[in-house]
Subunit: 293 residues, 2 copies
């Protein structure tokens, strides 16, 4: 790990990832050992590695897997679901499974065909659907916090995009922990300081079977373009990505000193259909999508 000037053997690497995960959880006050933690599981390396590390660290965890109905050449959703299920049963952990098609009548590709959000790519529809469903499951099943496997490369790619377009409101919101709001459980990213290659190395060394394919819709996405570019920078100057992220978190305190101001604490309404919070009166974006389609 050039950015840390650190090289570890298998045993110490696995230990190091767990230690650092615990450190991040505490540093950003994400949750404690008394909390019930819901892990958003995709079947990929990051989410399964995260679940594994949290389990080893002694946290009380459950998983949620959302079958999006994405097939592609490799039966993406089918394959990733079976890997998530295998991990849960191997470790004797609870996995809540949501099937978008059976619950809401359509797969993600089908929703995106009839929705203006998904005209070019279904990613926006998919994001909306996942946010809604995870919060719904988390609240209904009594979890205290939702965690996702976002790694440093994911965070830095989003940050880079928000900076290129100077999207001040998005910059303001990007954080390792998004605190709870009325009707919304908190969201945390315990892996936000790990490079993607570190989470991959963890998954491999911990003998986790995960889906290696990327979502077929991610091909050519801005996220992937940004990641390539940032990898190029990292290659020129080791540690660039980590410094970019950590210095951002520090600068945020100065730039958004008014973070807690009322101005930025949007008042939330309750959706008359599903009861989840929504920034405007009337049906939430999720219910509008589902009923419209």
């Amino acid at each position: 790990m050039r950015q840390h000037k650190l090289a570890l053997c298998k045993h110490h690497f696995l230990e190091w990832v767990c230690d650092q995960t615990e450190r991040n959880i505490n540093k950003y006050k994400m949750f404690t050992k008394g909390d019930r933690v819901l892990v958003a599981v995709s079947g990929g390396k990051d989410s399964l590695a995260l679940w594994d590390a949290l389990n080893k660290l002694g946290y009380t965890t459950g998983g949620v897997y959302i079958n999006l109905g994405i097939s592609g050449d490799d039966q993406y959703s089918l394959k990733s679901q079976s890997l998530a299920e295998k991990f849960a049963s191997d470790h004797n952990l609870v996995l809540h499974i949501v099937n978008i098609k059976s619950d809401y009548g359509k797969t993600i590709p089908e929703f995106s065909e009839t929705n203006k959000r998904g005209k070019s790519k279904p990613c926006s529809v998919c994001g909306l659907l996942k946010r809604h469903t995870m919060n719904e499951i988390g609240s209904r099943k009594g979890y205290d916090v939702l965690v996702t496997g976002h790694n440093l490369d994911d965070e830095v790619s989003v940050l880079f995009n928000n900076v290129l377009g100077w999207q001040v409101d998005f910059l303001r919101r990007q954080s390792p922990l998004i605190p709870a709001k009325e009707g919304l459980i908190p969201k945390a990213k315990p892996f936000c300081r790990f490079y993607e290659r570190e989470t991959a190395a963890y998954a491999i060394l911990a003998n986790i079977e995960y889906i290696e394919d990327e979502c077929p819709f991610s091909e050519g996405s801005t996220t992937i373009q940004n990641k390539e570019l940032l990898n190029h920078l990292e290659h020129q100057r080791a540690g660039t990505k980590l410094a970019f992220y950590l210095k951002f978190l520090r600068a945020k305190k100065e730039l958004f000193a008014d973070l807690e101001d009322d101005k930025y604490t949007e008042a939330l309404f309750s959706c008359p259909t599903c009861g989840q919070p929504t920034p405007k009166q009337g049906n939430c974006a999720f219910c509008r999508m589902v009923t419209r389609s």
Copy 2:
């Protein structure tokens, strides 16, 4: 010009550059027709194109050329000085020439050898020396404003670097116009919205002879690495560089709403040796460098 969806013939391109220059000058309230404008001339395309455009627009201008004593394979300083002199005499304009070696005893490479600022590269020494000398000439000769030929690619490269390291104070200061302070004449960048290829095209189409070589010390610099990377992004999404810069200028108003606060208006002292302003009591960084060497 993909970012503007605009293609122009020679005649209209030259006119467009002049019109846009005037527009920038007014938009950012840089200076007016009544002001005496000092152009920082390096002999390169940007500064000579800027001088040409300002002259055509009817501004009262003089130039300042600083011979840094950089030789390299191509006698960089000698060649650039003669091109600056040629431009001035062809257009019947005043050019103030400063020779670092004769005025201060050493060339830039010699200064940098004996100064900790210049241990790896002389760029920091060079910047300090140019800032000091230009302000000194500008004040002494009664100019109202100093203008430099920085183009969009220059600005965006600096911005990118400041963002990667989240250097909040540098971000706060980056602007098309740095207003006057006690003892410091204002500095403006009328070309800050032009892509480098536009200023190059202007110089060529206006038949300006300029030095094509980059400074031999710039090779492998962060600035050049950043420019390559940003060109790559621009190639993927036309207009990225311009949007990045203009959205930054807009976001600055929100991020640094406290810009005018006393906190950021450093008190300046007068250097007991040269009389120029300095942020700390005692000799300024320039005089310390010159006397120490």
